[in-house]
Symmetry: C2
Subunit: 587 residues, 2 copies
């Protein structure tokens, strides 16, 4: 009988022998590998955190004691142990579980967490509530070494020592972020590992923490021993544990970055990397970007790319990073710093390109406003994955338009085609006047073959791509193609619409919009993002005092969680048939 | 002859004797005291940084070498030395100079800076640009001990050691933030001071920095000696200097917090605190808030107030903080942490009130979205100084509406009167359903005497306070009173307008807005903030497919710098006569 079959509650776990716990770890490892290789997801971080999780649940008393998992890339073992093993055992239930912690799934999950460097701050808040209420329980924040480069983690660590009560931080040091770690802190972690935690110069001690070091966090007995020691402490305490990312799966141990988050079926039946030799690598907007930047770097040594800790997500795999050399900088998980840093370098004669995922762009609003926009630095931000997506609610890409386009001075561009994107990139290199952001299309490559000759230094100039009357369709970026489809459907019904590719998200072409009043009754906006605070509402406001009617299409203000894109489009009426029907009702 | 009269360039400074430099410091001190006591401004930080600034300019070669002043609260001595002494000598020119660094004023200012914890990141970017361009010069970041609690500072420090080239950070340790320092780091700074920099456990060394300690940063010879030593270094280097905040002005040395930023005429002719005994202390929205919270704390020990490092700005002076005891938490300059911390405490049974200045709220967008909104924590944020203001461009208060009201789940309320505010506060205490933000009125207390009986758990219910026809005026919060004035003027011209106090900023009362279609032609929105992404644009979008016309009033998307409120209102047509004229044109 499998040990997992004997695990029906955390009490069962507490009664297992060491040998049984080891078998449990092994069984959990197999489950996680199979499940993640089927659905995709975070693999290596979870494999490295199985034994520590077992130890945590063996020693502490969840949910009375509280665990906060940073970014929750390492929470699958915790989920298996806390009543959710069926979602890992039964392939039919694989997709029913979130890849992140979520209190709606279990009382053992303290928060919805998907962005990084938050666990220490959140745990501080739990501890404060506990103390104000006069309660007694352990509060345990779990944070990876990579996440320690984020400012919020530091703010929490600095403040945690002022609590004066039980507060335990498990630093899960697997010597990796998603890619390599970046920053001076990591030399200190290395020193601590090399001295078995004995070095006097100690980042955590400098912030006031009691400090324990565990040389092998994947060793259950070491882990249980140290946790027993710190349980119930009244001192702020860091337990620094060394674990192996990808533990127990050779392919992952050998390829930590590749296995941080995997696509389905990366592994073959022997748990080796599936042979995809000869498979075509299609051109993507990410690859086009890399080609452009590499080429520019060759001509101009001041051009460089910056990304905070997610280089793989923007196509900067290790081989590409090597090609860039000093012209690529990974700042670590430090989006705020990345913006300030890039802005300052632009102001001082370099040509930085900051590559950001839409969902992580929001980690840096103040820096966009103060360090960048106020200083009018001519740097370029490339925003990836900006779109309405069927993603986890922690990783939505629909808020970048309201964020960027409502900050003064930043010009936000939305290309619809490869040619436009390339022209905008060329323009970005020449631009010395203002901060520029480009919303990298979230579509397959769409190429018209027509060279774009637009002068993007003439701001807020929309492009009419089809002249019509009665109704004008303004399709922003990704949704320009939807506008074309709607126009086609309208034409089939005898209505020749005007079609407009605005290219500029952050400002309106007032002259053009005014001219539409002559022979149009209705202006329709389509944007691949949330409506609130977005592009369409600016158009509606512009026409407020006129007879022109306006319909805005985009996402509602909400956090949809793993909802299929088809359902979202249906809900938001983002389908050509529905839009045509709405238009006909008004005309 | 005064030394200052002999100072016409930095070359003059470099040739002064030590004695002359000391006299220069003394003369600068007098100028700064007189100027700041006349105009208001940052006093104590500047007084403590006179000698270090003289030493910096004596040793380094600005503007070839680059100085970045964190938050630039300490840049007045630098301004005096770099061609701007007339603005401190001549009272008629006092108001012509910004209180912050600004490259448009001088090539010696590297950035526009007014928010904190940015200097190290910005300096990193300069150094990177220098290295990519193959240039040689010193890059010097100046940062106060207080600013070190901010995450962006840490991100920059962590990353700075990866540059592998000249990078100097001056840590100006005056043992104070605006109020007291908060966090474990400050125990390490104390240890370093007590050991004359010799302690092995050293926060800066743990991040990879060469480290120098200066026991008296206000001693010119000590400062010059250490700067000569580090000039031209190829190692990332921290120079930790101990200075005295308020140096040379006894009243400021004794009252560091009060003298951080002073109102005009705080000092009398003897440079002592002017006698204001007997002066009336009018009730303000800040004092009303404090009364409410103190009272609630007495009844419920889980109620607590949180503020990141600007307690005085929200009325939490030292005596008030003492009254709150453990029910007030200053997180240090750590807005991100403050939101996550408060959110987590709310989720775990406490009743946190986070008090934030509008301009600093934007330092925490991602935490509002992820740590708070996604988790639907029932905490309350009180937003102060949210308004169109004649402020420095680094401290505008007009962006909080687009930020908060476009994030799902957060309910943003705008009271117009004391009674509404008190009712909303009472509601916030009872609310266990969602995150709540309240825009504390930026007006004098306006009290109607009528108790507000609204049930604010019924979301997005606007209140019609006057029924009319043809035109409806929706005045948000502070501008509800403007709506009343406009209505009065319209009535004088025979037009009875409908007047609406929406109270809710983050959502629309669709039922009410629909009902207006019956007998109104025009809906006018008035909001005390930027139009882009704001409340009015949502109303315009709502009416897009109807015959109702909409006029949105608010601020343009721009960064006005110290423009008088009268000029701004004129520009934005935020005057009752102008609005009435616009309305009549449409009706």
């Amino acid at each position: 009988m499998k040990i997992l079959d004997k695990l029906n509650s955390l009490d069962d776990l507490k009664n297992f022998t060491y040998e049984e716990l080891k078998s449990l770890a092994s069984e959990m490892r197999s489950l996680i590998i199979k499940k993640v290789n089927t659905t995709g997801g975070h693999l290596a971080p979870n494999l490295g955190f199985i034994e520590p999780t077992i130890a945590l649940h063996k020693v502490f008393n969840s949910p009375v004691d509280k665990f906060v998992f940073d970014v929750s890339h390492q929470c699958y073992p915790h989920k298996i142990l806390t009543g959710r093993k069926k979602y890992y055992e039964n392939p039919e239930k694989y997709l029913e579980i979130s890849g992140y912690t979520n209190p709606e799934e279990s009382a053992h999950d303290t928060f919805v967490i998907g962005h990084t460097s938050t666990s220490v701050s959140l745990a501080c808040g739990i501890a404060k509530a506990r103390d104000l209420r006069g309660e007694k329980y352990n509060v345990v924040a779990i944070i990876g070494d990579g996440s320690l480069s984020g400012g919020e983690a530091y703010e929490g660590l600095n403040n945690g020592t002022t609590l004066g009560s039980n507060f335990i931080v498990i630093v899960n040091d697997n010597e990796m972020s998603i890619a390599e770690n970046q920053g001076g802190l990591y030399e200190n972690l290395r020193l601590l590992r090399e001295t078995n935690g004995q070095a006097e110069c100690n980042f955590f001690k400098s912030l006031g923490y009691d400090y324990y070091y565990v040389s092998d966090g994947n060793d259950l007995s070491q882990m249980i021993e140290v946790l027993e020691k710190v349980k119930g402490t009244e001192q702020p305490t860091v337990v620094h544990i060394r674990t192996q990312k990808g533990k127990g799966l050779k392919a992952a141990e050998d390829n930590k970055e590749l296995f941080h988050w995997i696509v389905p079926n990366l592994l073959d039946e022997n748990n080796e990397i599936a042979n995809t030799q000869g498979a075509e690598c299609p051109e993507t907007y990410a690859s086009v970007t890399i080609d452009f930047l590499l080429n520019k770097c060759k001509q101009d040594k001041t051009v460089f790319a910056i990304n905070p800790a997610t280089p793989g997500a923007v196509g900067f795999t290790p081989d590409i990073r090597e090609k860039f050399g000093a012209n690529f900088v990974d700042t670590g998980i430090a989006e705020e710093h990345a913006v300030a840093y890039a802005s300052a370098s632009a102001k001082n004669g370099a040509n930085p390109y900051l590559l950001l995922i839409s969902s992580f762009l929001q980690r840096t609003y103040d820096q966009l406003s103060q360090d960048l926009a106020l200083n009018n630095s001519p740097m370029t931000i490339l925003v990836y994955w900006g779109a309405i997506q069927a993603n986890d609610m922690t990783h939505l890409g629909c808020f970048d338009i309201p964020i960027i386009s409502n900050i003064p001075n930043i010009v936000y561009l939305a290309p619809a085609t490869k040619e436009e994107y390339l022209k905008m990139l060329e323009f970005s290199y020449l631009n010395k006047e203002f901060p520029l952001a480009i919303r990298v299309p979230f579509t397959n490559i769409i190429s018209t073959g027509e060279v774009d000759n637009t002068d993007y230094s003439i701001l807020n100039k929309f492009k009419v791509t089809q002249s019509g009357s009665e109704v004008a369709l303004i399709g922003v970026g990704n949704f320009y193609h939807l506008a074309l489809e709607v126009a086609q459907n309208l034409e089939n019904e005898g209505i020749k619409a005007t079609v407009i590719n605005p290219r500029f998200i952050s400002g309106l072409d007032k002259e053009l919009l005014n001219s539409l009043k002559e022979n149009h009754k209705l202006v329709v906006t389509l944007e691949d993002g949330v409506l609130d605070g977005g592009f369409g509402q600016k158009v509606a406001s512009f026409y407020g005092n006129s007879d022109i009617k306006v319909l805005n299409y985009g996402a509602e203000k909400e956090f949809p969680d793993r909802v299929s894109i088809a359902k979202l489009y249906e809900k938001y009426r983002l389908k050509k048939e529905l839009i045509v029907s709405d238009i006909k009702e008004i005309l």
